[in-house]
Symmetry: C2
Subunit: 429 residues, 2 copies
């Protein structure tokens, strides 16, 4: 029998606790799969005396997270979280000490990933992060190992369960964003400070990692244009449905002739396409794998068990001897691709104008759109009572984002328009 | 630089030709991913002089497939196909010679898989078959490496693109099975002899492999109950839709308290659930991964490029040093689980009766169903003209398969019933 594979675990929160629990209760079965005994060799968390579901009292305890890198272990699991310290120093020190590293830390990798991958390769140890993008969905392995033959043209997906829950509930209940957010917080589907989720940054971190895997670029969250879902109204959700679409917060990364297009933004997806029926906290990613076609991966993207599942799968892979570069390409060959400029972005758009019910308002809107060569595919005008505000909603043909923005700026200053026009792209992916 | 990784390729049909083409044209990029040069070292096919898209004229040619096992190579790719010879002898000889093997041969593995996995492990070389189940969809790796943490309760999926194409077209066009099959043959979506596909055996081969990965059983196609789609009528498809369902040919494998339930059969899936919108030649698999929840994988399950993509991904994994058992568990630990008896199978059912339009017919049907404790959730009775046959269609509550079968046998002999009643289970995942 080969020597046991020793695991040092930093962080005993939901995910760390789940990992400890699984190693302690299902270790025998997983060891058979791994071909060697998986052994929890050391643990570390902020508070040693906090009651925990997993009984780690017999496992050597190390108080200082960074010191865990010196534990007698083959692999360090970092599930402390947080973009900075002590997670970053721990991962660095572990790699320096030639220990394999498994982390769920998307924020950290979306900034320091390329550098850490380089260090891992210099030291000849694997760095793995299946749990960092879309939780339990094996999209990291999918892009790293499976969909490599024809290259990837683009990926797009629902990467944040909180936003997807909110949008699904807004549609199901007809309630407004703020009300549904409050309910999501009460039910534990949204954080007390929801900004990372509803502002789109959490999706952006994940997208940066998926882009690196798909296109061989260094992960760089700063290269992602980010828009959240706070401005999505129930009216937009209802109108979208009339046009046969559903609004989802998407992460989109696509290789274009003008550069790499990386965006997080709400978009309309057509009913009947794979992402439209992905509801509640579920995540899903569509990868267009060249001639092999599109592949869709769907599952629970967050929560203790899906994340634990991803961390454990990385541990078993490494115990089995899996090597190879963190992002699928040698780290020193990762090359940034210039970002695609917004005026290169062509899409159909959903537009909503809240207008005064006055003669000539539609003529005014259509004139400004026509001036920018934005042509309209279909339109709904819905009046309420005479004299009250009216919604004019349109779906355009494909046109440049810049052209639509220019038209909307011009239209927005009209005194017939009651609120800034709303503009949401249609994603046909 | 490490030595090149030498690949011997048996079979130059659609898939073999695709693999050769990719190695010759995208070899440099894939070699960077693999960390060593991928080299096509030898090829073998039936006819050396047949014109081919991939120019293999500079590659050493071996006439005898089994002799390819002696080629100067690290890995043998078997894409000859066929359950028996020469594929089986080639794979055996290659493993005996301590060469890694990648195969797309589901029929062969669904019968000889456990024995070949044992041989591979004895010789210390990997045996991989991502292309053998659901083509380009990385479900083999998903079950082998990713969804292992909480165990798998069940898998179900659309595993045959030909059947899915036919069912999708029957719904879209309202045409009958035979007519749509003929069109599918003309368009190259169905074989001249379609029996393997429409009879369900192709799905059964794939299901046997997925079961092995999910449950640690030796793959055994004989343990799969198989039913095809020839008896599905346009009426069934239309009625299913009225009840908010779509008919799909599913492969289902599930661990039950009574044993392992492995079936290929048409089933009703509810609109809005992940499998319902999987149309045309696409495949999809749902894996219920215990506490981590359900995961769905969707993509093209057959055809040159998706299959090539899967074969290449296995080659790169092995070149990178991936090891570990073929079915995710050591082959000597694969243990058969007794099959669940049909009377243990509980499900809701769709039932269709073609009846004479006579008084008392509904009473007769309902009496026999009630006698077997089969209770009805909803019903449609659709008459045409007085005196003409009438369809009575029902959806039952959950009940035992045996009870429904017994009731249908009793009902079927009534002279008011014009044709054997139709019974299709409802699959709720």
């Amino acid at each position: 029998m080969i020597e046991p594979f020793r695991i040092a675990l930093a962080g005993l929160g939901h995910v760390g606790g789940g990992v400890a629990q699984i190693l302690l209760t299902r270790g025998a079965e997983l060891s058979r799969r791994a071909g060697r005994e998986l052994q929890l060799a050391a643990v570390c968390a902020r508070d040693r005396h906090k009651p925990r579901r997993a009984d780690v009292s017999s496992i050597p305890w190390i108080d200082d997270a960074v010191a865990l890198a010196n534990a007698d272990a083959d692999l360090v699991v970092e599930v402390i979280g947080g973009e900075g310290e002590p997670a970053l120093s721990l991962i660095r020190a572990a790699l320096e000490n030639r220990k394999a590293v498994v982390t769920a830390n998307k924020a950290l990798l979306a900034t320091h990933g390329a550098q850490l991958a380089m260090l891992a390769e210099e030291r000849g140890v694997p760095l793995r992060f299946e749990a960092a993008a879309a939780g339990g969905i094996p999209i990291v392995k999918g892009l790293r190992q499976s969909l490599i033959t024809y290259g990837i043209d683009g990926i797009h997906g629902i990467l944040n369960g909180t936003c997807n829950y909110i949008l699904t509930q807004m549609e199901a209940t007809g309630r407004a964003f703020a009300e549904v957010l409050a309910e999501a917080q009460a039910r534990g589907y949204a954080e007390a400070d929801p900004e990372m989720d509803v502002g789109g940054m959490d999706s952006a971190h994940k997208l940066a990692l998926l882009s690196a895997l798909a296109f061989g670029v260094p992960p760089d969250v700063r290269a992602v244009r980010v828009e959240g879902i706070r401005h999505i109204s129930r009216a937009d959700i209802a109108f979208a449905k009339e046009f046969n679409y559903r609004i989802k917060l998407l992460g989109i990364a696509r290789q274009t002739p003008h550069g790499l297009d990386q965006r997080v933004q709400p978009a309309l997806v057509r009913l009947g396409t794979p992402l439209a029926d992905v509801g509640f906290v579920f995540n899903a990613v569509v990868a267009n794998a060249g001639a092999a076609g599109p592949f869709t991966f769907e599952g629970r993207g967050a929560g203790e068990e899906p994340t634990t599942s991803a961390v454990i799968s990385d541990i078993v892979d490494i115990a089995r001897g899996e090597r190879g570069p963190a992002f699928g390409w040698p780290a020193k060959e990762l090359r940034a691709i210039p970002p695609a400029p917004p005026d290169a972005h062509v899409s159909a758009y959903y537009l909503r104008f809240d207008v005064r019910d006055l003669p000539g308002v539609l003529a005014e809107i259509s004139t400004y759109l026509a001036r920018e060569d934005v042509s309209i595919e279909s339109m709904i005008q819905r009046g309420r009572n005479p004299g009250e505000p009216v919604a004019i909603v349109m779906v355009t043909h494909e046109c440049s984002e810049t052209a639509v923005s220019r038209a909307l700026t011009a239209i927005g200053i009209s005194d017939k328009i009651l609120a800034p026009p709303c503009m949401i792209p249609i994603e046909n992916g």
